[in-house]
């Protein structure tokens, strides 16, 4: 494997013998297959009838496709409601995170002040934080304030745990923007905030957009807080509803599979369209930071 490093540094894949190239592509295909196999298999299960599923995995592989399971899950009002709840919670979390995150990240990336690295360390510490350690106090406080069992009981903690990610990635993006433009704006009499709003925000739009996608995925995937603070089915997000399908549709494995597939499809589409941006966003924080 180590030999691959050396090839990059010299001539790239073109200079290699064709046998090695074939091996390399076999490796790639295997890697992609292993990555995608569960999704493909569960999709196969979701379009198979109950009796074919129960027969054996081999029968499942060749069974004629059916849409029964999808009719079942889309006919389930709780599932539809859960999809809506997840969109509301993840969407609101993303907007709040971007608002506070962008302002904070701009100051860290651009302005000079003391305690900057202490503040960054503190923010980073949150992303290492075991969320389970605070569910009891938050439960008590949310009950006291009366927001238990509402969207806010998910949005507030989601925001706190997504903020470090948002800030970290935005700092990396903001640092890459040319400084001259803001300086020019300031020379022309713009205040810090105006320079931020009129110059940086439009320029940073692609970076902000990438951050929004990552924050949205993060909030969409959250499970612990939703499972702790929500016990009214009307407010359940998809991450709580799908595992419950195991008891709702006991041996109707096809419907369990269909539910899982439906929830991942928006994410798969997001990833396929924005893969390049997502990778640059994810690695910006970790490598350059």
């Amino acid at each position: 494997m180590a030999s691959a490093t050396t090839t990059t540094t010299t001539k790239g894949a073109t200079g290699r013998s064709s046998r090695n190239l074939v091996l390399f592509y076999i490796f790639l295909v295997l890697f992609v297959l292993v990555s995608l196999f569960p999704l493909l298999w569960v999709f196969r299960m979701s379009i198979t009838t109950k009796s074919d599923l129960l027969a054996s995995p081999l029968v499942t592989l060749t069974a004629p496709p059916t849409s029964t399971s999808y009719n079942t899950v889309f006919g389930n009002p709780d599932f539809i409601k859960a999809l809506r709840n997840s969109v509301i919670v993840a969407g609101t979390t993303t907007v709040i995170c971007l608002f506070f995150g962008a302002i904070c990240a701009y100051a860290i990336a651009r302005l000079r002040f003391r305690f900057k690295s202490s503040i960054m360390t503190l923010i980073l510490a949150i992303s290492f934080f075991p969320a389970v350690a605070i569910i009891a106090p938050l439960f008590i406080q949310f009950t006291a304030v009366g927001i238990i069992n509402t969207y806010w009981a998910m949005i507030i903690p989601d925001t706190v745990f997504a903020l470090p990610l948002t800030i970290w990635i935005l700092v990396a993006f903001f640092k890459e923007l040319p400084r001259d433009l803001e300086e020019a704006a300031k020379v022309d009499g713009a205040t810090t905030l105006q320079a931020f709003r009129k110059v940086i925000v439009p320029l940073a739009a692609p970076g902000v957009f990438t951050t929004a996608i990552l924050t949205f995925i993060f909030a969409w995937n959250e499970f612990l807080f939703a499972n702790t603070f929500i016990f009214d089915a009307a407010h359940y997000p998809v991450t709580v509803v799908i595992p419950n399908f195991a008891t709702v549709y006991t041996i109707d494995y096809g419907s369990q599979a269909a539910g899982a597939v439906v929830v991942t499809i928006p994410l798969v589409i997001l990833v396929l369209i924005f893969q390049r941006r997502i990778v640059s966003g994810l690695t910006a924080g970790a490598v350059k930071g």
Binding site: A2, F31, L54
Partner: protein
Amino acid sequence: MTSSDRESVSRVKSEEKKRRGGWFRQEFGNPERRMAYYMVLPALIIIVAIAFFPIAYSVLLSVTDSTITGFGSFVGLENYIEMFKNPDFLDGLKNTLIFTVASVTLEFIIGLGIALAINRAFRGRGLVRAAVLVPWAFPTVISAVMWRLMFQDQIGIIDEAAKAIGLISNPILSSNTLMLIGATLVDVWKTTPFMALLLLAGLQTIPGEVYEAARVDGANVTQRFFRITLPLLKSTILVAVLFRTLDAYRVYDLFWVMSGQQLESLSTFVFKSVRISQLLFPQGNAAAVFIFVTAFLIALIFIKVFGMQTGTEE
């Protein structure tokens, strides 16, 4: 330090303060800096109020016999003692440690291998990158549901395949050991690609000339790997491994959903205690503090022992 020493030190400090106007005035007297603090403050307040303040609250709950509805009286370390006697907690601790060490080790080794292999220009890069990201972008609970379906007795392809080749004789979901192995493999499947991406990004920052020079000096592949790649990749490796370690250490979603709430981890123990059982509430808080403190120690070890860089200044 004697009192006269202290006096002289404080006198020196106050003189210095007078001379420089004090850091407070220096920071807030400057409009740009003042603006910076105003901009950082809202995010910081949110983080401190919703994450750090509750930790203090957790510590308080853990030394009292409180319930979810009301504060109790001070009981010292009794909850911690009870917790360490609780077989469920010990089981969760053991599973969490095995899971963390096994999954992070495998993810690092396989991830580094993949990163080294794909660190070159090739056709179909976008496809590989997308394939890598798909498992990562899934909600953990959904991948747990998917793998549970594949581990299922009779209908699950993995359960059937493992039986067919004689790897297992009992259904995977009937044994805690097999479920722990299963959970580890699911985690490896889900996060190795992410690890590979981080390491790949780190590899790409190593200039090619370094390898060229080493080759000219007669270093072979192994030498180049251990003398150049690993040392230059060290900071990326530390960040990636620490990130994954602390993430694996707080495992909850995967265990809870994949094992049908059977497999115990530290986090599932806390969840069950504070959210489901009335009696275990104080122990649950002790376990919550335990997780927090040990996670903090893990991070500290990475920073102090391995010399991880945490600063962001260039």
